[in-house]
């Protein structure tokens, strides 16, 4: 009983009665095969299993450019790839206002995403092309980006917006702008 479980809790997990557990522990009877297998799994799990990561945790680990903002424009999570692009440490910007650091066309894009109803679940997704001005302590730089913006639910079931993007060159920017006809396009939900 290394896990300090009550007999009743273990019984619930294994789908047997608490009396059965007590009999196994006293050596009066042997658990069936199915229970032995499950016990072996539980013992192993105690060492190899960590809590399930949430999708927000996974965003922070992402080597690509990805970040999450809420309806107030706060950074809720930023990927490792985006931190590399921005050239800052996580603690410098997470939990702060995105538009304090990100300007250029992207600032207007964030407003449009909000106005089009991203946080009211009115959008399936939005796409944007344009400049991203990165304004951090180490200096300012501007890159051209292609972004997709899409909704996900936080654990508190409020809508967050995930921004996934790539840095593109001028030729790709021009080509994609022609394809889409507009710098900012949305796909509504029904």
């Amino acid at each position: 009983m290394s896990k300090r479980l009550k007999q009743a809790a273990l019984a619930a997990d294994l789908g047997v009665t608490q009396a059965m557990i007590s009999r196994w522990e006293n050596g009066e009877s042997d658990p069936p095969e199915r229970v032995k297998r499950r016990m072996a799994e539980l013992v192993q799990d105690a060492f190899v299993v960590a809590p399930a990561p949430t999708w927000v945790d996974l965003v922070t680990l992402n080597p690509g450019i990805e970040f999450v903002t809420d309806s107030l424009g706060m950074f809720k999570a930023i990927s490792n790839g985006a931190l590399d692009l921005f050239g800052v440490g996580r603690e410098e910007i997470e939990g702060r206002q995105a538009q304090q650091f990100l300007g250029g066309d992207f600032a207007a894009t964030m407003d449009q995403v909000r106005e089009k109803g991203m946080f009211q679940s009115n959008l399936a997704f939005a796409q944007s092309l344009g400049s991203l001005e990165i304004n951090v302590a180490s200096g300012m730089k501007t890159v051209l980006c292609d972004f997709i913006h899409w909704p996900r639910l936080s654990e508190a079931r409020t809508v967050y917006c995930v921004h996934s993007g790539a840095v593109i060159d001028e030729a790709a920017y021009t080509r994609r702008l022609e394809e889409r006809g507009d710098r900012f396009t949305v796909r509504k939900t029904f």
Partner: protein, 211 residues
């Protein structure tokens, strides 16, 4: 160790039920209420004493989806094709269900040319062995919560001529069927970066078991 007790389905329900319940922060009674069954039932599924009915299987996968998404799975799948980052979705047979524009750009073709083709027809080496590692670990049975990896992609056929290093994150998506699909997202990286990631992981990939 393959579990062949539930012949009607490849999904390993004890892991799926428990993983969903724990990630949603529910106890067995709360999950039972959501699914309109008894707590004893939930406990038996988690212990492997019984498999959920087909109604509950679908409901469980729908709950998994509804907990993080505001859009339908169809819309989500279509949206991936527009993603400028590296994203792709592969089924248990190794067939690419959808690929992002970002991934297609790396592979040197269009998303339509990748979708519907099997991963080993498109890439040599690393990509296929990653699929095999995931598959053997029971990824498509719902036994894996996530994985991280570093790969060298060498294209063939549609992707011929492409060659890139990538750092990827992998997780299961629970789709109707019920079936588990492999969602890969990541980024192209330098060879140095790829080597650093492999060193940190202590190999080509690290898999995290579902609870």
């Amino acid at each position: 160790m393959m579990d062949t007790r539930f012949n009607n389905s490849e999904i390993y329900w004890p892991a799926v039920v428990r993983h969903y319940r724990v990630s949603a922060g529910l106890n067995q009674t709360e999950l039972a209420n959501r699914l309109a069954v008894t707590q004893t039932m939930v406990s038996r599924w988690e212990a492997g004493g019984a498999a959920p009915s087909r109604r509950v299987q679908d409901l469980l996968f729908d709950l998994f989806w509804a907990d993080s998404a505001t859009i339908s799975r169809d819309v989500w799948m279509q949206r991936i094709a527009h993603n400028p980052c590296m994203v792709f979705v592969v089924d248990a047979q190794g067939v690419v269900q959808t690929a992002s524009r970002g991934f297609a750009r790396l592979a040197g073709c269009s998303p339509d040319e990748i979708a519907g083709r099997s991963i080993d027809a498109l890439f040599e080496g690393d990509a296929m062995s990653l699929f095999e590692r995931l598959s053997e670990a029971g990824f498509f049975e719902g036994r894996i919560a996530g994985a991280e990896s570093a790969e060298l992609y060498i294209g063939r056929d549609q992707a011929a001529g492409s060659r890139f290093f990538a750092h990827g994150l992998h997780r299961p998506v629970f789709m109707p069927g019920p079936q588990v699909l492999w969602l890969a997202s990541g980024s192209e990286v330098t060879q140095q970066n790829y080597e650093d990631v492999r060193e940190r992981l202590g190999g080509p990939s690290v898999l995290r078991k579902a609870i």
